[in-house]
Amino acid sequence: MNMDTILTHSPALIIAVPLLGAFLTPLISRINDKLRNVFVILTVGLTGFLVSLLSYDVLINGKIHTYVFGSQDIGSPVVRILFEVDGMNAFMIIIGAILVFVAVVYSWAFMKENTGLDKYYTLILLMAAGMFGMMLTGDMFNFFVFLEITSISSCALIAFWTNKGKAVEAGFKYIVISTIGALFILFAIAILYGQYNALNMAVLANSIQSPMTFLDKTALVLLIAGLAMKAGIVPMHMWLPDAYGRAPASVTLILVGTTQASLYALFRMVFTVYGNSLSLDAEPLRQIGEVDITLNGLLGVIIVLLAIITIIVGVLMALKQSDFKRTIAFAAVAEIGYMFLAVGAGLWAIGTTHGMMALKGGIFHIINDALDVGLLFLVAGAIYYATKETSLNKMGGLARNMKYTTIFFLIGLLAVSGMPPMNGFASKLLIYESTYLINPILAIVAILCSILLLAVFVKVFHSAFLGPKIPRFNDVKEVPKSMLIAMGLLACVIIFFGLFPDLIVNNIVDPAANALANNSNYISQIIGGP
């Protein structure tokens, strides 16, 4: 088997490897715990290798990969699932691979004292398979299936610490929210299938033309509402602090990835599946007086409004929290708002240079947010591991005992607040500049909230790490090496992205933004055409 064969089958293998690994983990667990841990790390390492192979080919060589499960003949009326990997998919699986690998390395020591780790690792791998599936599939129903796989495994992992009642409650809330969101997504898929007799995203994108039918609009509303809830957009975000706050830190890290997979799906539906109705020459939805109400303008305004509310509510709530993880969770809500703001602005000003710049800023911020917020959650987990404490009111002076963890927190703090020279600065700079050109008020709100976000984490830093040495924490030691390595890995990627933003934007972000902005390549890859 040569590299070309591996590359050809990589879209399927990226799902198959963690899926197979998930079912083998309980068996290997019976032999030896260390062997199981090594096996899981190797499994996610192999998945990461496949992701890098595929992403390199898509992002650097500019190819679009398709992988067909079932009949190869597009015209035949048989059951068939199709994966299509363009720049945006490749971008997303890179995020997924980094998060899963780091989470598994972190888990080695972090979860060591827990029982039921065979189930834990099985669920982690299932969650990874589901997340990669959501990011790779080009089939609507298949997307729903992967969404459900991710939701069920996430729910079990959020409630993993069953001895803590609140974790079980958070798991319950998560599954209720996920199921209802997914049901509405399924309803939308059924509407589209009923109309066009197709489930493939490219075929649907080609079929949905301007002017849209009433059913097209209904399906779009259901998809946006369902996926926005899964992505944690205010006011549908309330499950997120509960779930992020109660899950083990390693699980929270992957949850960040699954939330972003939902955000990706939202962008894919709007820009690709409904892409033909967004183009500048598409017919307006309605004319009110002299003003044409276009779909891109209307959706852009709605998304920007939701984003601004998300940023403000997220950051204000974060400022009020006294629990370490809930503070980061609300900050994560605000960060999702930034991505949403940029993509909404890109939609609003579609076809212009600053519209494209906003889209790039939003996409760049997706990966930056995953790394920055992910690192902060791992630090919160490290503090909990060392002190068994989550309340900021009871912490203090930990920098004296946990030097490396403190440095990692500082890196995460600067990055998430958009301070130079960290990665968050470059993406937020793009967002501020492009939104300013669309409407200065948007940029002003975004900058002010970013300053508040810095204030939030300065508070956390002061409360947990600074101040006199508290006698209760005299015996607290630095966390084990595997946790430090995991946090160090994320910190290194953050610094690398921060130091070379041009390299990252040109090679990873640009292809993703171009893939979103231009759906004709995605469509022509499946059904032919120019």
């Binding site: 209720v176 929210i177 209802i180 969101g181 509405f184 609009k217 209904t218 779009l220 509303v221 509402a225 809830m229 006011p235 549908m236 309330m238 499950w239 509960d242 109400i293 779909l295 209307l298 709605i302 939701l306 204000l316 709530m317 400022l319 009020k320 006294s322 240079t353 600053h354 710049m357 309340s391 900021l392 009111n393 009871k394 912490m395 203090g396 002076g397 130079p420 020279p421 600065f425 470059a426 700079l429 793009l430 500049e433 492009s434 204030a455 508070k459 956390v460 002061h462 409360s463 101040g467 006199p468 508290i470 006698p471 921060g498 130091l499 070379f500 933003p501 041009d502 390299l503 090679n507």
Partner: protein
């Protein structure tokens, strides 16, 4: 193909630019200047003397745990002045899953009116 030169390129944002390497060089130079200036300061600090004790206007020093400002007390003035917003936000965050669904239905309804009906 990624070249070595591409690592050093300046990031163009459309109207502006950003080069972290230049920024870091400037910061390092600034730190060096500060460090040199610091060297001219008085060297009167003596370890293991009364100098290391916290001076609280002549009042006795509290226990270590009481000295530290707790997380909830930081930005007290800010949260107090925005009490009206926080009251509304806390009312919204009930922790009840039925309310979470209610918000979902409300947003879906608004979207339906805006996109579906228009």
């Amino acid at each position: 193909m990624i070249t070595w030169e591409s690592f050093l390129e300046t990031f163009e944002t459309g109207s502006g630019f950003w080069n972290p390497l230049i920024w870091i060089t400037a910061i390092v130079i600034a730190f060096l200047v500060v460090y040199i200036l610091r060297g001219y300061g008085k060297k009167e600090y003596k370890e293991k003397t009364e100098q290391i004790k916290a001076f609280l206007s002549g009042n006795p020093e509290y226990e270590k745990e009481k000295m530290h400002i707790k997380g909830s007390n930081v930005y007290w003035g800010f949260t107090e002045s925005l009490k009206w917003i926080y009251k509304a936000l806390e009312k919204m965050h009930t922790g009840n899953v039925s309310d979470y669904i209610l918000w979902f239905v409300v947003i879906m309804g608004i979207l339906f009116i805006l996109v579906g009906v228009i």
